[in-house]
């Protein structure tokens, strides 16, 4: 006991104090081929908070989210400028392995996408792929419990994940993401394919998960952002003339603040317009 304490203290002395910020985006721009999707976004993401990205469709929120775990790499022609710093390391610098990035920064998608396997195997996939051996029963149970799904599926762990309802599948996807013990969970409109009751359960789940993980969610539902998040970033599309004389539409960050302030007292009139429903 004393030995490990000594090791910890020594580690603390050597390691520089990690800031409270998990992500630091600096002048991040994303383009798909010649089209600029997101322009010059700079903002931090804080640990153990739920940060929401809101804005009208097409403003680049999902694109920005996908920068955080290098899922944009999968889109041909995607290119990221600027720096996406994660615990101080630029995710897009040379030598960073996207596979390692995604191991620490998980993602839940808009449409639930469980594997065509059993519930058990869905959750066990991540750990197995990372080298976990032996009995994973405890881990599977723990993840299902934390995803508020255990009671509903405990008796049918070996049945196909496709037999679950939409809301259950999404909670399964969350459990699956948790199983690899990530630092951050990204959620891309996780409730947009679900009914209101399923949505409410997932929102409750998010608030529980916040204690252990940092969560970034994209949502087109403002009220959801208001209910669930600690900080909110409002993005919108801006049209500006480009070099060739035509117009260029790209998304950019308008305002980023504590959710309370954004919704009660937004600084930018565009934010206020969006929130009050005047557009979007």
């Amino acid at each position: 006991m004393a030995w490990s304490q000594a090791v910890d203290t020594a580690a603390q002395a050597i390691v520089p104090a990690t800031p409270e910020r998990v992500f630091e985006l600096e002048h991040v721009s994303v383009s798909y081929g010649p089209n600029l999707a997101v322009r010059d976004v700079s903002m931090p993401i804080h640990r153990n908070e739920i940060t929401a990205l809101i804005g009208p469709s097409g403003c680049g929120k999902s694109t920005l989210l996908r920068c955080l775990n290098r899922m944009n790499d999968l889109i041909p022609g995607a290119h990221v400028d600027g720096q996406v710093r994660y615990h101080g390391i630029d995710l897009y610098s040379k030598g960073v392995d996207p596979v390692e990035v995604r191991r620490r920064i998980g993602m839940v998608f808009q449409k639930p996408n469980p594997f065509p396997k059993s519930i058990y195997d869905n959750i066990a996939f991540g750990p197995r792929v990372l080298g976990a051996k032996g009995n994973l029963d405890d881990l599977v149970e723990s993840c299902l419990r934390r995803a508020a799904l255990w009671d509903e599926v405990r008796h049918k762990l070996k049945s196909s994940a496709y037999g679950l309802s939409g809301g259950q599948q999404q909670r399964l996807c969350i459990a699956r993401a948790i199983a690899v013990n990530p630092d951050v969970i990204l959620m891309d409109e996780p409730c947009s394919a679900l009914d209101p009751i399923a949505t409410a359960r997932i929102e409750d789940l998010m608030r529980e998960l916040e204690d252990e993980y940092t969560i970034v969610i994209v949502t087109h539902n403002m009220q959801q952002a208001a209910r669930v998040s600690d900080r909110t970033a409002f993005m919108t599309t801006q049209v500006e003339p480009d070099e060739d004389g035509g117009d260029r539409r790209s998304g950019h960050l308008v305002e980023y603040d504590l959710t309370d302030r954004i919704f009660k007292n937004p600084a930018d009139p565009r934010t206020e317009d969006y929130i009050s429903g005047r557009f979007g």
């Binding site: 775990n69 899922m71 999968l74 041909p76 596979v99 390692e100 995604r102 191991r103 620490r104 998980g106 993602m107 998608f109 449409k111 996408n113 469980p114 594997f115 065509p116 996939f125 991540g126 792929v129 990372l130 996807c173 699956r176 993401a177 199983a179 690899v180």
Partner: protein, 304 residues
């Protein structure tokens, strides 16, 4: 003459409609439809004739003695045992080579190959190979396997030649199965921190497996009936012993080869009796293989 006035247009329209209701027009329509149906039926009828002829000539000749005898110069004593074991051994070896090679190539092309000109060339190449006459594959096999690699006119040379022949078929079928797996599955796997290879090996390929198996069985059923390539590679028409899959350097024969042998003989007993009985066996085998493939597809192929 311009139909400028409404009245003229109405008259013209009435004339057209009246004309189309005439008996001549309807009869012409019906004749055309019957002609088309008849033409379609011709091919099916010929198929029926073929099957009927096979059954008529061959059923009587088909018995246990026929299935278990080696070839003989006497039509009454000849049998297709050597052809059956030959074809079986060929199939086992061909599958053992073509299946892993074909699936691996398909996985590479579908999951990993970068989207550049070289890959497109590779894909066009596969499409072209599918259109090369089978006898040319025989020439390739003869020059490369029989002579260059010095395998001689052997079972393994025949199997390798057939494997190259059906490789494009397996690749195309496997790629289709892989393509049917939704991207969402791959994204889910990658988002968990699995490498692209792990996602392919543990999710994508297993999901596509039923379709891959179906395609492979169909490809093999093509190979079973192929005569020209193995004839060119040096299959013997008449063999007095069994082929076993591990007799790689043995001389070899096959069921289609024996059929070719029987058909080429002047005696009617061979041409009509023995040949049709052998054909009956071959067609039955093909029917079985295709049925297995179809059952596989209907029961296990995932509907995404």
């Amino acid at each position: 003459m311009a139909l400028s006035t409404p009245q003229r247009s109405a008259e013209a329209a009435a004339a057209v409609l009246a004309g189309s209701a005439s008996a001549g027009r309807t009869r012409g329509e019906r004749v055309f439809a019957v002609l088309l149906l008849g033409a379609t039926a011709v091919s099916v009828l010929v198929l029926g004739l073929l099957i009927a002829q096979v059954l008529l000539d061959g059923l009587a000749r088909l018995d246990l003695q026929f299935l278990t005898s080696y070839p003989s110069r006497r039509a009454a004593r000849t049998g297709i045992r050597a052809g059956i074991t030959g074809s079986l051994s060929l199939m086992v070896l061909t599958a053992a080579v073509a299946f892993p090679l074909g699936v691996a190539a398909a996985v590479y092309l579908e999951e990993f190959a970068p989207d550049n000109r070289f890959t497109r060339l590779l894909e066009a190449n596969v499409a072209n190979l599918a259109g090369v006459p089978s006898v040319v594959y025989g020439l390739l096999g003869s020059a490369v396997f029989v002579y260059l690699f010095q395998m001689g006119r052997s079972l393994v040379a025949g199997a390798l030649t057939l494997a190259l022949l059906i490789l494009p078929v397996i690749i195309v079928a496997s790629r289709e199965s892989l393509r049917a797996v939704p991207q969402a599955i791959r994204h889910a796997g990658l988002a968990l921190g699995a490498t692209p290879l792990q996602v392919a090996a543990r999710q994508t390929v297993p999901s596509a497996l039923p379709g891959i198996f179906t395609g492979t069985i169909l490809a093999l059923s093509r190979a079973v009936g192929e005569t020209a390539p193995i004839l060119v590679v040096g299959a013997v028409l008449s063999r007095r012993s069994d082929n076993v899959p591990w007799g790689l350097l043995d001389a070899f024969t096959g069921l289609p080869i024996q059929i070719y042998d029987f058909v080429s003989r002047p005696q009617a007993d061979f041409r009509e009796g023995a040949a049709s009985a052998a054909i009956l066996v071959l067609l039955t085998v093909l029917l079985l293989m295709n049925s297995v493939a179809i059952v596989l597809r209907n029961r296990y192929a995932r509907r995404w």
